[in-house]
Subunit: 349 residues, 4 copies
């Protein structure tokens, strides 16, 4: 930690900070310049957090040098985390990028879902996604079919061999959900719902954690840390766009650079969700490719058998014929850029 004192900090104030640090077994050096005194402190930040020190009289700023996430950090675990599923599918570690596709919400029509899942399987996708509990900005919007939706997902999964991904919105739903899903998803709005992070942290299931609309990369990795700190190391991060000043043409701004940044600082797999990231069908293919080329371990795409009658997000869902074309090109693209991805992986680590 570096503690920068106010320009008018007194000698007594400076000494109190130094004494406090020494009493807590920190190694301390300081340097008094023309304007500011700077104190360098080496020690255990689990006992003394930067916030504690910031509250001392005369302290201007406390700067952390080491990133505050630990379990998620590549410093502690240099090799990529690879998450492996019962059927041999793997996410991360330079394995073939996965594709997670499906409707925004699972609806009353099982045949429609099966049609979606069949198309997904045909196109080589590994995961079927679908919402059972929908976080909706307005209480007047469709809120999901709950457990019935999960039953449909499981049936479609059994019929096709796809793995199931669905969002958990409340810890109390977890025991029930674990029977149905292969991957739990934590949504963007819950990225700092710490109770939920702790609850999924105690499950033995991989978790897709979506970046919040206003999460910094550091906060995003700390949210993963909350899950990992409870024992669950199978966290997959998902870039899905952040809020910006311009939402005239895209719902959010996709922070494509966050993928290689995260890869550099963390060993966790990262996937990319261009459906929510852009909210526009015509941008799904290019933005999926952009994510893959910078190192994403997979893509998540909303598709629907009948978008005009979808109860949510129909606008951004690919109709099945368009999905088949797009996915075909993405599959070919993945073959094409294999070498670029490998180089990218080697380079960011």
């Amino acid at each position: 930690m570096i503690i920068i004192m106010e320009r008018n900090a007194t000698k007594v104030q400076i000494q109190r900070v130094i004494d406090f640090l020494k009493d807590n077994d920190f190694q301390v050096r300081h340097n008094t310049g023309e304007v500011h005194t700077v104190i360098d402190a080496l020690g255990d930040k689990t006992t003394i957090t930067p916030g504690r020190l910031a509250a001392f009289e005369g302290v201007k700023e406390v700067k952390i040098i080491r990133e505050p996430f630990r379990l998620a950090s590549r410093d502690r675990k240099p090799e990529d985390t690879v998450i492996e599923f019962k059927n041999g599918v793997k996410i991360g570690g330079g394995n073939k990028p996965v594709a997670i596709v499906g409707p925004c919400s699972v609806e009353a029509d099982y045949e429609g879902l099966l049609e979606i899942a069949t198309a997904a399987k045909e196109m080589g996708c590994e995961f079927l996604r679908g919402g059972a509990f929908k976080p909706r900005t307005s209480p007047y919007d469709f809120q999901g079919y709950g457990e019935k939706a999960l039953q449909f997902l499981k049936r479609a999964s059994e019929a096709t061999g796809l793995l199931v991904v669905s969002e958990v919105m409340d810890a109390s739903d977890l025991p029930m959900m674990l029977d149905y899903v292969d991957v739990l998803q934590v949504g963007a709005r819950n990225v700092q719902n710490f109770k939920l992070l702790h609850a999924v942290g105690k499950c033995n299931k991989p978790v897709i954690l979506k970046r919040g609309l206003a999460s910094t990369i550091r906060e995003f990795l700390l949210a993963a840390e909350h899950i990992m700190y409870q024992g669950n190391m199978q966290v997959i991060l998902c870039e899905r766009g952040i809020r910006s000043f311009d939402s005239a043409f895209t719902r959010n701004v996709m922070d494509i650079a966050s993928i290689p940044v995260i890869k550099k600082y963390s060993h966790l797999p990262v996937i990319v969700d261009p459906s929510h990231g852009t909210g526009q069908r015509y941008l799904i293919e290019p933005m999926a490719k952009a994510g893959l080329v910078v190192g994403a371990d997979g893509v998540m795409i909303e598709i629907h058998n009948d978008p005009e009658n979808a109860l949510s997000d129909g606008k951004q869902s690919l109709p099945l014929p368009m999905f088949r074309e797009v996915m075909g090109r993405i599959n070919k693209f993945n073959e094409l850029i294999k070498e670029d991805r490998q180089h990218q992986a080697a380079n960011t680590i």
Copy 2:
């Protein structure tokens, strides 16, 4: 609703939208210009949401004219909501602005808390706030003392007559919390934790709902709507700063204009939290006054008997001697600007 069709939308696409709307009992008119066709539709948006229409082929954009919140809207309820407590304290409706003060987290030291509460009472404050469950960005930070903290708050409340405000982080904690607190707080990070909003919506307790770091004003009012839709009409909104590109001098940017905006569009009371809004002691007084002058119904301020040993947010907490001075000036200021507030209230409605 206004539906704007793509410039190359076909006649068939236009007709399908019109037919669908008519089938759902909307009144429809349309206007075909040189470039775009525009469809005006009047009807019940609880059955047909804008998102549904946006998914139709050939639709460029769907624009809602009426604000999507209803129970929270001043259109439906022109008079201010006033929340009254057992001891006669009132929030909203032009009543004297309240003051909600206390430590970020309640700590192990009851005597300290009592000292804080006593100072608060002396200075004419109405509410004691304190965290029992702390949402912390890092899992390595102090997470709160839980029920023990609530017991301390209740004791201090009984000793001083102050009402108790504390944050709920999980629906499962609610039954226990209701015994201790007079007002439930929902934190900024949970503003779109819909399960939690629904749970507090079923309680018969006033709720302080904090604006999320990336909440638009519309989303903020829709979050209140989620609570109200469950039956709880006692919602107090709290402006506490939003995320911006500049965090060098203040933690967040306080959107002071949001207060008169919300007052114009909603009947709910609004308070202002300059402690979290700025993260800087020296800004608490001016920003509290700025909030009050534009119509805030109260202020929330973090104070501490020993900020250097606070387990969280010590940096932004006012030490008690400073608090007494600041609160004294805020009280005088409230007297001074009575007429301005009344004019402001009359004007924004």
Copy 3:
């Protein structure tokens, strides 16, 4: 400066940074922790900028401790800058807040302008503002009447005794403009048009510098520094809203806290422009008051004799009858909060 080395920086890389700093007469100390080496350097940053050091192999980050603005800094000049005009009007230093009012653009109708100026004078305002050259996002919008507009402003100024403020958009217009205006304005879009900053920096006229839509406070003060570095110390800063993710109800988000922040770090006067800051008539009065209460040295408000026929910004301009009421209340308010402003001034310095 503090130089933080990468975790895998080699000894040779560390030594090269240290040697380079010593060769340039910096005093250097360093501290090698478990993960990072930190180098403290005291010396003259006009010769060696942080950017230079950041480019050295193995350097992770360079942190500046002292703020990079100097002439604008309160460290160098603790007392408030006060700008005094020929007629005795003063801006800054705790003097009565000024009012700068007028139409967005000066239009073809001199009688209209005179009507505006007369109302302004009656209400105790000190300055008449009006655009002669209009920066317009679209080339199809009205671009201003140029010198003719300045002639009108001067005539209205001679008729009423008001001082004239008008925006300069190009250095080549300066010689002509100096004959007509008492204060030059540099608009938000030109806050980093360094050629223009240098040109006004060479004039002997006060300059109102508007904060850019995406200017950090530090960049804003550095823009002022560019002007001052050329010799012109009469800079008045103007907060007029920054870009945020929410523009549904207000054009921009006014960063009211920036006013006391700037007052703490700089001696320059600061004014507030709620017309551009909010873009809504009903928010002008409350936001002007919010700015004044936190220490602003004046307000800038757009008014118009016939807003429905204004060629620009009619929507946000106050019609004259509304202006008289609003200005009357602002004048009374300034009387009321005198003590608060004085306290605020004493406190932020």
Copy 4:
């Protein structure tokens, strides 16, 4: 245009808007709902701008349907603009992506510049860029060598056959600059410096226009429109990152999706600048590829023969050996994704 009236707009107010529109030869229809009246108006927006109408009493909002840029719009000119240079190099229209490389600023050392240019030529780049006039946030930073720098660029260009790109900061420098450069660059800070846009709009030279840190895509295209409106149709847009709330790991957030968005709405070529977009060497290659895969017509990359001694932006400049590797892989990548780019181009139009 769609004019949405306030919920309490009077019949007289509504009629005045309708009459005004009819008087100006607009075709008008209106629709009065339960809450709002909506007026549809078809006509010439060059005479009556939306801002004019917004100022009418009782108007809540004016919505434009057709994008406000015209010359830049694909509606008016469906085929891609291709800019061709004397030596046969072409930008846009599906031609091979170009590479524009060079130092941030041209420095005193011509040999260094020649070394850079030679490497660039060897690696198949088409353009040499270098700053002669540097826009610098602080007046204490290096401001560029002016005309001498341009002379060096021209000499290096003659030696290698590369075309020259350099930034113009002031209209008065243009006549001199035209002798030296093949492409004028307008920097991000000048994207709404309308005087400069008008000046380059009168030149017969291609212009690279950089997106501002806070420019929406619409504003960016309107800035291009300002240039085109003066007669110069050879505008190349450059995405170089926008300001976001997270600058801990990257200087800006690159809005990669803006490239296919612009391609859909405009016929102008777009390039991508990952050096300024990220500020990090390790992100240049992946983000260049991300830009290319979504359809960028070229990349702009800062390189330097001796980054540790660069007078600006050394941190983000690629040293020559790294540049050779990166450029080699980008060249191969361009070959690889030819088909994807063609598909992308066909798809966004």
